[in-house]
Symmetry: C2
Subunit: 276 residues, 2 copies
């Protein structure tokens, strides 16, 4: 499977018919998501009669939309994006392991018995994306800033991926400390600690906050305080080079942009849906 | 606009993106519907970033599915097919004129103020389909058998289209008599009467019952009892040549198959959605 096949085979929208299986991505905002392009290229390449379309659903509409999706019997899977990842975890019938720990999901599928299984691939996709770029995290010490849905999933995947140390930071100290406790319980051999800024001893510093999406956002942290050997990572995809990554590149750090995570994540979800 | 463009332009499913407007057809069963092919060819031809997909929703799931569709803000229109046409009329915020009389809808669209407007184009599509084949109904006497959702809509459209006489037949005499009364009230100059079988004086005899969809169904009426000048019409599309039409063709009658209605109907709905 490739992310964006450049040649044939392609599928035409006129080939969509009454027997086409349906997948959706649900979020707000929705217009910039890339899942339709990714999955529809995948379906075309594999000759699968399925299509993925984007649904614009706001937080107030999620419960009704979800109940509606469950009533659509040819609806086979849902990709869940902001702001629905936490609430959607309460709407499925069962949670996979990463979804349970994260308390959030980014994908759900209809099982053969009709129940809905949700799981969270943001974290695994993130780690897969790092590895695909040659950044192995096993045995490394990592600082993670931002413990919302994506950040929580990344924390779990970093722990699963064998980091030797994990420092968690969030503007909400109570949320941070709860996650420290959960990770410590789930991974008793891992040194997981709360932090307030990346210290110079970490091998990688990751921004999982939204800081950098808006033009006048402050930097989530200043890479100039870190040694050049520290990998600076952002999960924001728009812009691809965030102010944090620009600054880090200017100070001679290696950088890793958000697109790699999204590609890794999409591949994980495609596997979860039973493709590739 | 053409029903099935044979050349370019076409749209590829990979062109579906987060900004694609969504249309659906909702029904049970759903796999044989032709609306996806029709509308997606139309969207491709007009360069419209929209897609229509089929949703398999059973009668028990309709209310939940409909509430879900309303929560999907990029969902612009719904084509309604069996068995949902009557119930859906109760789920929209407002009804067009034919929808009001029929008490059923086959399409609904989201208005600029967010309200949902439903209307019934089965009847108009049927009359358009007859006219497209050269069968003018104005001034003619017509027998109509089967007064469910489609039959009711056809009765109204025949009255609107200026038939000189309309005989209505249904296995449910109370339903039949109620519709006779409603048509008589709405069209005081039209001779509308109940009937139990097509009499030899009618210019056209129409089957709007499901009889003929299953292999061992009895004929809805026997065309051999009618003069050869009587047009014999079926609204069933699968099979295209129903046993009724086969029998009528064998006895020398002109026949008119269900596909013409569906094409007329799709064009009416496309206009209702704001295209062509």
């Amino acid at each position: 499977m490739t992310l964006a096949p450049t040649g044939e085979p392609t599928a035409k929208t006129e080939q969509i018919d009454g027997a086409t299986r349906l997948y959706v991505i649900i979020g707000d905002p929705i217009s910039a998501v890339r899942s339709p392009q990714f999955f529809n290229a995948l379906f075309a390449e594999h000759g699968i009669n399925a299509v993925l379309v984007a649904l614009h659903v706001d937080a107030d509409g999620l419960d009704a939309a979800w109940a509606g999706l469950k009533a659509m019997r040819n609806l086979a899977g849902v990709v869940v994006t902001m702001p629905h990842k936490v609430r959607a975890a309460a709407l499925v019938d069962a949670l996979g392991p990463a979804g349970q720990i994260a308390g959030a999901i980014n994908a759900a599928r209809r099982e053969p018995d009709g129940r809905w299984l949700g799981d969270m691939f943001d974290g695994r996709g993130f780690v897969d994306g790092l590895r695909a770029q040659g950044h192995e995290i096993a045995g490394r010490k990592v600082h993670l800033l931002g413990l919302g849905g994506a950040g929580t999933a990344i924390a779990v995947a970093l722990a699963e991926g064998g980091v030797s140390g994990l420092v968690l930071q969030d503007v909400d100290a109570a949320r941070r400390d709860r996650l420290v406790d959960r990770i410590a319980t789930g991974f008793p051999n891992l040194a997981v600690t709360p932090g307030t800024a990346p210290d110079p001893g970490v091998d990688a510093a990751i921004n999982a906050t939204p800081l950098g999406m808006k033009v006048n956002d402050p930097l989530p942290f200043d890479p100039a305080t870190l040694p050049r050997s520290t990998l600076v990572v952002d999960i924001i995809t728009k812009p691809e080079m965030t102010p944090l990554l620009e600054r880090a590149a200017a100070t001679g750090h290696r950088v890793h942009a958000g697109g790699h995570m999204h590609r890794g994540q999409a591949l994980c979800v495609a596997r979860f849906f039973g493709f590739c």
